[in-house]
């Protein structure tokens, strides 16, 4: 175990941990409820699968934050900070495949003109249309999700965590899924058989979009791409500033930045300076994010790489 980050980042990681535990506990209540009421509704089935897939990012976060704390070993001399990236690529791929599958299924349902049946259930001596139960469960699946997503978003930015950020964005956007599914259920009630499959198609598109976003972000890190913004695929502004500062410090030298886990590592093709550098002093961004700059290494400039010393 090592003390890795400043206290405010460690506190953020712990808070993220608590929120992800809450998320898993909440999803564990939503999934069985959804299974009970979904009937033959395509939209409900899609939301149900989306909710189950929603277990992946919190689980990946919990596992990766645990792995991140592992001390380096002979077999893993750089630690396991990137384990979450590997897991996240896999889960993003699962999102893409499932989203595509559900989209095809929704289109097939539309093409086959399948009419969804939503029957009744007797509870407390009254017969209730299952559509109302579906809407209640959808509200339970949507509202806490939006709240949790909003709570996670600032933490993800503080601790520069791609998994937590993607999870937060997915949850924050859950209101669209909820409203689409409710629209589908109400559409069934109005006798619009196609509304349900159309809503299912829209929701599967959102799953597909989440998957592609997560895949691009995680794959970029895995292939040593330049650090990305959490919000999009652009190179992070703080990484660009850091590159510019290093470029000024080592004129003409090639500067490469990459992201491993939540930290940035820089490589400069230049002769190393005689004295040790203070990385926090070089960091051009907000001082409380200077911890992000974890390593500066030097490699021989391109021209010198093949030059053997004279004997």
């Amino acid at each position: 175990m090592t003390a890795r980050y400043p206290p405010h980042v460690e506190a953020g990681i712990a808070r993220g941990h608590r929120l992800e535990c809450w998320t898993i506990a909440w999803i564990a209540t939503v999934v069985p409820l959804m299974a009970v009421v979904m009937g033959s509704s395509q939209a409900m089935k899609t939301v149900w699968i989306e909710d189950m897939l929603g277990l992946i990012p919190p689980t990946v976060y919990l596992i990766s934050t645990k792995l991140e704390k592992q001390a380096v070993t002979e077999k893993f001399p750089y630690g396991l900070a990137r384990a979450n990236t590997v897991a996240f690529v896999a889960s993003a791929a699962a999102l893409v495949v499932t989203g595509a599958f559900l989209l095809i299924e929704a289109l097939m349902t539309l093409a086959m003109r399948e009419h969804p049946s939503v029957g009744t259930v007797r509870a407390f001596g009254r017969d209730i249309w299952l559509g109302w139960a579906m809407i209640l469960v959808l509200l339970w699946s949507t509202v806490p999700s939006m709240i949790l997503g909003r709570m996670k978003l600032p933490i993800a930015k503080t601790i520069a965590d791609q998994v937590l950020h993607t999870d937060a964005e997915m949850q924050k956007a859950d209101w669209m899924t909820g409203i689409a599914a409710m629209g589908g259920v109400i559409g069934i009630g109005y006798g619009l058989w196609w509304a349900d499959a159309a809503a299912g198609g829209l929701i599967s598109l959102s799953i597909l979009k989440d998957g592609v976003t997560a895949l691009r972000a995680s794959a970029a890190e895995l292939v040593d791409g330049a650090p990305r913004e959490l919000e999009n695929d652009n190179v992070a502004a703080e990484a660009q500033q850091l590159k510019a500062v290093l470029g000024e410090m080592f004129p003409g030298a090639a500067v490469r930045l990459r992201e491993t886990g939540r930290v940035i590592r820089a490589q400069v093709a230049a002769q190393p300076p005689a004295e040790l550098l203070d990385l926090a002093a070089i960091w051009p961004g907000e001082p409380d994010r200077a911890w992000r700059f974890a390593q500066l290494s030097f490699v021989p400039p391109a021209g010198e790489q093949t030059t053997l010393p004279a004997v």
Partner: protein
């Protein structure tokens, strides 16, 4: 955009609190009431002799002011006609895991009978998606067989 979507949904929800909700896409219940006839298929031979089937049809008559036009036959042709909309209701015995469950809607069991490892359930069967009619048949079946789920 979020506010607009929420308002639209609220309006739809409010509008759906009428007595004519849910509705049938192919207006099965409206047609039954207008024509005062329920086209029923009984899967031969057992369904026709079941007292609970008669009780179900009697209660549906009361609820819709429509008279059942009953015909008996084999499962496959009756269910095909139900799917096509030529029949409004079929009653027969089915295994709990019958492949027909995806193509038509099976209502609550009027009676359950064990035959070896198979559990045969006497159920009303409706056309998929006709949710007003499905709801009425389900309610009536539960009244006829209170033990039904």
């Amino acid at each position: 955009m979020r506010t607009r979507a929420t308002w639209c949904l609220t309006l739809l929800l409010a509008a759906s609190c009428s007595s004519e909700f849910p509705r049938d896409p192919d207006r099965t219940l409206d047609k039954i009431r207008a024509e005062q006839r329920i086209d029923v298929g009984l899967i031969a031979p057992l369904a026709a002799s079941e007292p609970k089937v008669h009780a179900l049809l009697d209660r549906l008559t009361q609820a819709t002011d429509a008279v059942p036009a009953v015909e008996a036959g084999d499962a496959e042709p009756l269910l095909k006609r139900l799917e096509a909309g030529d029949l409004d209701l079929v009653v027969g015995r089915f295994d709990k895991k019958t492949p027909w469950a995806k193509m038509v809607t099976l209502g609550p069991a009027l009676r359950t009978q064990k035959a070896g490892k198979t559990e045969l359930r006497l159920v009303p069967v409706m056309r998929n998606g006709e949710n007003a009619w499905i709801g009425l048949v389900e309610r009536t079946a539960r009244d006829v067989a209170p033990e039904a789920q």
